[in-house]
Symmetry: C2
Subunit: 651 residues, 2 copies
């Protein structure tokens, strides 16, 4: 039985006094005293909450959602249920809390916090140039001849004939029952000119919407990436291929655990528990869709088709399919492929008669997100040996060419997604994403996303921090503090740490610091990734040097310093020029699947061709993991650049 990584900060090894509040969507932690309001704590954490009444509890602008933990309000009432609203200026923590600060309660251009920043790998990723625009969803305006005594074919025959000639489609059409029910009145209201929304599933086009007239409202497709940590949605104009909105936020399932295993455990308790876990991610997805539609000025009925990608557990939980056997030997999923489902049956916020297509999940721990990444990276399209590594709570590796595709997954935990690390946070404005250290560890240079006041460190920042501490001798190869670092080395609650920014410099309540326990977490995560990469290469009998490219997908954005990642031994030392950073290739693949039926079919093909290798039962993988639990590795012959540096230092 696989077991999950710890979910709460206390279990994760934090030893800080008092209660702690985690603010979402940033994922920043802050400790609070008994008298401090949630709003004050947020301000100290660097997050500004709106207020018009100055904290009198009257304007209602500082409303937040308390997702877990008990609170007290000024009136002494105690609210115990999860997921409720509170005025942050009048509410205090009675225990550790998770608090979401919704968009409307934020100061400034807060939309940026959930705008998905896309990495553009240019010609190094697959796009519409090779998968031509031929979407699974279409909108067609037709003008029909009015029926007369000599021309009395039924309304539906009349419409489907016109659609057939407009789409040059000889085959039959289907029609949703709710559209059929109102067909006569819509045709006549539009004076025999109507616009139909159609989705192609299998070998048939189905009319899923119909409105009078011939307006040119865009026909929207929805690309959804369900990550364990974050959910991203793209609204795509299927006629132009243009992406209208890109939004991302944390996956609301986090209250059931940080990784897929704890989620499966939570969902396996009962039918009701499974439904609860499903609703959590549905709620997140539907909220994102709502925000995206609002920003685009569109109605939810305009979305006729959604393509969803996610790892296998996420896909199961999203659909409410029992995932329990995924974590029990021999690790079998309920399904690898998904027939098209009606949106209504899935519960997604769009035209209820539209369709939801879920990308195939070839293995229990290799899902549609990886299949999407494989398409986007073009692995399997030629005879070049290439690799995709997808960094997330699970790290996935795909290796191969058009002859052979093998895939594996390793449990990294959410450290590089900014979770389970005391100073960790998501890649949003205020996150430190560049770090360098000079002068014996005494001087730290940092850059934050958006140039804002630093409130935490995101994944790419953690990679650079670890590499910089190693370079500067602040930590040794085992990741242990050496004492180097002068005044920046402190001990808080018994756990030594290295301080990037002192509380007194920032006005925040605490030092921005990395603890010994954080470093151990990060080393475990990067070692899992490297061990997977190495095991898979050995599995197909190749040398890592033979790889022409390694595509990096997942948690890291465009900010990732590949050199630093090699320096800490997360990625193999095969030359920086061989790495291509793709960003969220899962949602990119979903987007392509909506815009191009060829891309969708290619992903089904790729999933069918992929051989899944189970690492958890392989002793060799564990050996690789242990050897990789150093910075960069116990065997420096695998890291020539590091050895060269060590030799230079010695000489």
């Amino acid at each position: 039985m696989k077991t999950g990584s710890p979910a709460s900060p206390k279990e994760a090894g934090f030893h800080l006094p008092g209660h702690r509040i985690r603010f979402l969507p940033e994922g920043v932690w802050v400790e609070v005293g008994p008298e401090e309001t949630i709003r004050d704590a947020a301000l100290r954490a660097g997050i500004e909450i709106a207020s018009a009444c100055g904290g009198e509890g009257t304007c209602g602008k500082c409303r937040v959602r308390v997702l877990s933990g008990r609170v007290t309000t000024d009136l002494g009432a105690e609210v115990c249920e999860d997921d409720r609203e509170a005025l942050s200026c009048r509410t205090r923590a009675k225990e550790d809390l998770t608090v979401e600060i919704p968009l409307e309660s934020r100061l400034g251009d807060s939309r940026a916090t959930i705008l998905h920043s896309e990495v553009d790998a240019g010609r190094q990723e697959a796009g519409l140039d090779e998968y031509s625009l031929n979407p699974v969803v279409r909108e067609v305006s037709v003008s029909l001849n009015e029926p007369a005594l000599g021309d009395t074919v039924s309304d539906w025959q009349r419409l489907s004939r016109a659609l057939g000639s407009s789409l040059s489609w000889q085959g039959p059409f289907d029609i949703s029952i709710s559209v059929l029910r109102n067909l006569p009145s819509i045709l006549r209201k539009g004076d025999w000119k109507v616009t139909a929304g159609l989705v192609k599933t299998g070998e048939r086009w189905e009319v899923v919407s119909l409105r009078p007239g011939g307006d040119d409202e865009p026909c929207i497709g929805l690309a959804v990436d369900i990550g364990t940590t974050t959910v991203a949605v793209y609204l795509v104009d299927t006629s132009s291929g243009r992406t209208l909105q890109r939004l991302v936020t944390y996956n609301g399932q986090f209250v059931y655990g940080e990784d897929v295993i704890t989620r499966v455990v939570a969902a396996s308790r009962s039918q009701e528990a499974l439904e609860e876990v499903r609703q959590a991610v549905l709620e997140t997805t539907n909220r994102l869709i709502g925000s995206a539609l609002e920003a685009a000025g569109l109605d939810e009925g305009t979305i006729h088709c959604a393509v969803v990608s996610g790892n296998t557990v996420m896909a199961h939980l999203f659909l409410g399919v029992d995932p329990r056997n995924i974590r029990l030997e021999p690790y079998v999923s309920a399904t690898a492929g998904f027939p098209p489902f009606k949106a209504e049956d899935v519960g997604i916020r769009m035209n209820p008669d539209g369709y939801v297509l879920v990308l195939p999940c070839p293995g229990s721990y290799v899902g549609g997100d990886v299949v999407a990444g494989t398409l986007v990276s073009r692995i399997g399209d030629g005879n070049r040996k290439e690799m995709l590594v997808d960094v997330g709570t699970n790290g996935e590796v795909v290796l191969g060419n058009d002859d052979l595709l093998v895939a594996a997954a390793c449990s990294m935990g959410p450290a590089f997604e900014g979770s389970g690390i005391s100073c960790g946070m998501r890649s949003v404005p205020g996150a430190v994403h560049r770090v360098s250290i000079e002068e014996g560890g005494e001087v730290v240079h940092m850059e934050t996303i958006g140039g804002e006041r630093p409130i935490g460190i995101c994944g790419s920042g953690l990679v650079e921090l670890l590499a910089a501490m190693l370079d500067a001798g602040v930590v040794d190869m085992s990741g242990t503090f050496t004492g180097v670092g002068g005044r920046r080395i402190r001990k808080n609650a018994g756990d030594p740490c290295y301080v990037l920014l002192f509380a007194e410099e920032t006005g925040l309540s605490r030092d921005l610091a990395i603890y010994q326990s954080d470093i151990k977490n990060l080393i475990r995560a990067k070692a899992a990734m490297y061990a997977g990469i190495r095991y898979l290469a050995e599995f197909v009998g190749m040398d890592l040097d033979e790889l022409e490219h390694i595509y990096v997908a997942g948690a890291f954005g465009s900010h990732l310093d590949v050199e630093a990642a090699v320096k800490i031994g997360m990625f193999p030392d095969i030359g920086v020029q061989k790495f291509v950073v793709l960003g969220n290739s899962s949602v990119k693949g979903s987007r392509l699947a909506i815009l191009s039926r060829k891309a969708f079919h290619r992903m089904e093909e790729l999933a069918g061709n992929m051989t899944y290798v189970e690492l958890s039962t392989e002793p060799a993988y564990m050996d690789h993991f242990v050897s990789a639990s150093f910075l960069p590795h116990t065997d420096l012959s695998l890291f020539p650049t590091a050895r060269m540096r060590a030799d230079l230092d010695d000489s």
Copy 2:
């Protein structure tokens, strides 16, 4: 604009004193005084209601459903809503009522009242000998290999592979989302032996049910005939082809009018009205299904597929599709063909993931019931010129061979279904179905269905009565009473009538009699039918004598005396031996469609080949109708047998 026939007895020209109660499902009318309870009225009408307390209102056994009209109870309370229950021994009419006496409140083997008596035309109708057993629904038990570390395909892949080899089906399978959600637990509960229910729609099999183990519960298909007056359901064991249950009852939509036009008018008032009319027939259908399942000892989940046939308006209303344009020139239906619908979307009582297939309706007044009849009668299968006549509230005629199929509909009204006729009733026990008159109209011989005490006259009885009155000289060629008939000729409330059975002979409250107004109704109905038959023959340029067969479907059961029907001029005088009585060929065709995919596809073909002829706009049809409004016809050269008889009488 077409207009409907009147729905209430007063509008229909009855002039009887006091309130009247119509009892269902028989359709018998009886008049009541202000002090008479519903139970006493029913007893006088010949319908026995159960009671254990002797009318004290305490045992609850005499419960009835008051479908329309206001009542008073002993407690003085007045119930005004439609469709409510009442104790018949303590309830009285405040106005005209329609009262249903449910099965459980009847004395004796009352199930017979809704058992559908099938006509077996033997080798003269199509059956499973030519449409081989190859049902759209299947149940398959499979044993799967338990997954192991070397065999980790997903549960769904494992199951679909086994199903594929069991069904010898190479193509893909679909699975309902609710089945997928529980797939893992069902497979393991059954220790890898399971039974799947599958439906084939289009080119894919879909798993719509799954249960652990390999039991041999039958896999049930449902054949439904939605008639304007009655609804029939058959439960069919699809593995053997055996019909397990055949039930029929009146269509609950009757409260919205007796014919299709008044139903369309009622449903066109608003979206809510359409839904109300839809629910009425759904409720009837679901009640029949419930009774059939109970009698067969089966659960509703065993029904995986339903095939529904009905005229075009009934099909629209059953699905909740706006029918308003069917009655407005140029009489265009919303749809002629129906994609497969999920049972859940239709609201039918069966496995919600199962499918409902609706037979195609080629014309606005020629529906799936006629297509079914065409299949069953084999018109269109050879080069013989043949005709189908379907007698109902609408009379439909199909004429042709494998070269040409033409169809038309004429509005007969429900007279021959026992409605709108003072002594009319449905073909159930107690209905007079044979009549002869002797000795100058003074002596009447009758037979009733089931040999029971006569309480009314059904359609075939009315045909014989009319023919017998004509033969005996009780009425002349125009249908007017001649005075012949002696003491049997009476005048009630100004309307002359001919009494078959005097009240004092029966213990019923009134004479069993036919009124002048009834005769006019019957002549209108038979004239509409004959005019349609004649018009259609002229339309294709043939003589009626050229017909090799006329198949008679619809309201009449096996009791129809074709000679009498020719005598009154309902059917052409081409020789009795050419007529084949089919009974309810609509439900027979639905049954075949469930059992044989070939039969289903043949019906789609037939519907596509059928040319619909609109009679209501044809002056020649009206001319034929007027000429046919005599007994048998104004032109006796068309009825040689009648002319011969007349010549004999004259000589």
